[in-house]
């Protein structure tokens, strides 16, 4: 991207930021600089620059009362004059289209109502553009009704606790856990639930394909404080040994294009098979992954993962030998 393009982007981003931060500060008088920066997705330094910039904004004839007046006192932001910027502007077509794509991918009963409300929140002149753009992004099919994902989205929306039967790859055991579900996230091809594990007393990620069962409980919970969420991370250090797989060259090219965290350890640039390593995976995932390459991949190590793969192959083979 050219330097000129970057400058233009920065200016536009600043405009979008200030159109949000002024009304937000009006609504939350005395909000801490840090919290306001967090809300705007900016650094504190950026926010202070934005506030400086705003001091020069006003409307003609530019008498003292015609300027925006935001000031910081003891690390808190106050608005003296807001010049009618008391609510943010309507959604731009790309804002609404991105939200619409996300909503369509997660489904839910209220989907159509939500999509219509989004459309109405775009300026009338841009609704046609929004309709066009919304058709250009497809972020996935909604989860099947009654699936773990479907149940979790309902629980998150209703702030209801869930009881999970969850397989922990780190401990190689299945456990029941009661979790306050906060949000879902997809990373490296897997869906994760991020929430507060009651027994362990902290926020943790749970991979959805390791959740064997999920029951939505009647118990509701209060939203976590922003500070607890600021520390949210999906990954800690991977546990256990990395799993090694061997793939044909063709399969390796496909595998490396998938969003799994694979690292080539042998055979790069050669002509023979390729050995890859994946951190934080479990034997079941590795077996499925290898078998999805139709005989062009196998699990090599560690021993338990290799055994899991072999047993799965033998059990599947037994089915085909019957008929």
């Amino acid at each position: 991207m050219s330097a000129e393009q970057l400058r233009k982007d920065d200016a536009r981003e600043r405009l979008r930021r200030v159109l949000f931060l002024v009304p937000y500060a009006v609504r939350h008088p005395g909000i801490a600089v840090r919290e306001l920066a967090e809300r705007c997705g900016a650094t504190e330094a950026q926010l202070l620059e934005d506030l400086d910039f705003l001091l020069s904004v006003g409307c003609p004839p530019f008498a003292p009362d015609d300027f925006l007046d935001l000031y910081v006192e003891r690390d808190r932001v106050y608005v003296a004059l807001h010049q009618s910027f008391t609510r943010p502007p309507r959604f731009t077509e790309s804002e609404a289209a991105a939200l619409a794509a996300a909503v369509k991918a997660l489904g839910g009963e209220g989907k159509d109502r939500v999509l219509e409300a989004l459309r109405q929140a775009v300026p009338r002149e841009r609704r046609k553009g929004y309709d066009e753009l919304a058709k250009r992004i497809y972020a996935g099919s909604p989860p099947a009704r009654g699936s773990v994902m479907d149940r979790l989205s309902r629980a998150i929306a209703g702030r209801r606790a869930v009881r999970l039967r969850h397989f922990s790859a780190a401990r190689a055991e299945e456990k029941e856990r009661v979790v306050h579900p906060y949000t879902l996230a997809r990373r490296f091809g897997h869906w994760y639930l991020f929430g507060h594990d009651q027994a362990r007393g902290r926020e943790l990620p749970f991979r959805l394909d390791r959740i064997r069962d999920c029951a939505v409980l009647d118990e509701t919970f209060e939203p976590p404080p922003p500070a607890a969420l600021a520390r949210a991370r999906l990954f800690s250090e991977p546990h256990g040994h990395a799993i090694r797989l061997q793939l044909s060259r063709v399969a390796a090219a496909w595998a490396l294009a998938r969003p799994a965290r694979l690292r080539v350890v042998e055979g790069e640039g050669g002509t023979g098979p390729v050995v890859v390593e994946v951190e934080g995976a479990d034997a079941e995932w590795a077996t499925r992954f290898a078998l999805s390459f139709g005989g062009e991949a196998e699990v090599l190590s560690p021993v338990e993962a290799r055994r899991h793969f072999q047993e799965a192959v033998e059990r599947a083979l037994a089915r085909y030998q019957r008929g």
Binding site: M1, A11, L15, Y24, E38, G41, F53, S56, P61, L68, Q83, P88, P89, R90, F91, T92, S94, E95, A98, L99, A102, V103, G108, G110, K111, A117, A121, R124, E125, R136, I137, Y138, S141, G146, S147, V148, I156, G158, R159, T183, A185, R187, F188, P223, L229, A230, A232, R233, L234, A253, W254, A257, R288, L291, S292, F293, G295, Q310, A316, R319
Partner: protein, 335 residues
């Protein structure tokens, strides 16, 4: 005066004005910005209006009548983000969907999505807890940056190109070859499948609609000439969703064949759904049988193998034999 400042000043003026502001008045208030030749000044003002609209701020021209002079204004109802008037559960769904997409760290229009989530707190009377999901998402999307910068950057460039309908130049690596090809593509849309993002569009090299795996795009450049004019039109009958919801076994590789797969019970909702909306599923003692039409048998075979001993290919016979051959070969490798 800098443009960002001028745009905000203009918005403040038109937002606060009690009645439409005439072009003459605007020129007088911004003598440095809208001075010079009349034609150039009007063009500049029109560009500013377009930029304000892109930010979600509509500037309207009002014909004068007996009571009001002709001029420009920003109608507050048209400017302010309205209350979406959604029941709390719908609003929560909206927050969660947006948050989950943002937390993934790779979503088209990611910056717009982040802005939209912020604005949502104004679009509801009591957003309450839902904001928590948004905050968590922000934090999650920052975590673990290793090796992830490329796809989000590409998604951003493509998002722009798709919205502006501008052609892109791609350097693309073939799946099974190490060499790359360069081509011009009219980007029609983006879709996500199996956790990966794909671009689809008209490829000028192949002269047909093609899909491109983002992880295999080595370089991308959008045509930046004449940013406000479109390079192409998307054909009316083109649908990203149709392309995206095609299962791998529905790619056209060979003539259509009927296939049957047995699923061993208890069959999970996820396994059932993995065969897509066009599969017919018949309950059977101790499990279920999936019936579907395939034009790429190999892909179905791989899907079934990945389900392990929970699934078994029953037909076509040739594909079943191939499953057996593959599994036998893998079983023999144990030594």
């Amino acid at each position: 005066m800098q443009k960002a400042q001028r745009l905000l000043d203009l918005a403040a003026l038109l937002l606060r004005a009690a009645e439409p502001v005439s072009w003459r008045d605007i020129q007088e208030q911004f003598p440095e910005d809208y001075g010079g030749s009349e034609e150039a000044a009007i063009r500049k003002f029109e560009r500013d209006k377009a930029e304000l609209l892109e930010l979600g701020i509509p500037v309207r021209w009002l014909q004068g009548d007996e009571d009001l002079p002709a001029g420009y204004l920003i109608d507050k109802d048209e400017f302010y983000l309205p209350d979406l008037k959604l029941p709390p559960e719908d609003l929560a769904l909206l927050y969660l969907s947006g948050s989950a997409a943002l937390a993934g760290g790779d979503f088209p229009y990611a910056r717009d999505l982040a802005h939209a989530l912020e604005k949502l707190s104004f679009a509801a009377r009591s957003p309450g807890a839902s904001e928590a999901a948004g905050l968590a998402a922000r934090s999650l999307s920052r975590g673990d940056e290793e090796g992830r910068a490329e796809v989000p950057a590409m998604l951003e460039e493509l998002s722009r190109a798709i919205a502006a309908q501008k052609r892109v130049h791609l350097v693309y690596a073939g799946a099974e070859r190490s060499e790359t090809t360069e081509r011009e593509v009219d980007p029609y849309g983006l879709y996500q499948s199996g956790g990966s993002w794909f671009l689809c569009g008209h490829c000028h090299l192949r002269r047909a609609v093609r899909t491109f795996h983002l992880a295999r795009i080595r370089g991308i450049e959008m045509n930046r000439a004449q940013p406000r004019s479109r390079d192409f039109e998307v054909p009316a009958d083109f649908s990203v969703a149709d392309l995206a919801t095609r299962e791998a076994w529905e790619y056209e590789v060979h003539p259509a064949q009927a296939a049957r797969v047995r699923l061993e019970g208890p069959v999970s909702i996820e396994d059932r759904a993995s065969f897509g909306p066009r599969a017919a599923i018949r309950e059977e003692e101790g499990g279920a049988v999936v019936e579907l039409t395939v034009t790429n048998g190999e892909a179905l075979l791989r899907h079934v193998l990945a389900l392990g001993d929970r699934a078994e290919l029953l037909a076509p016979a040739k594909l079943r034999r191939r499953a057996r051959t593959i599994l036998s070969a893998l079983a023999r490798r144990r030594a």
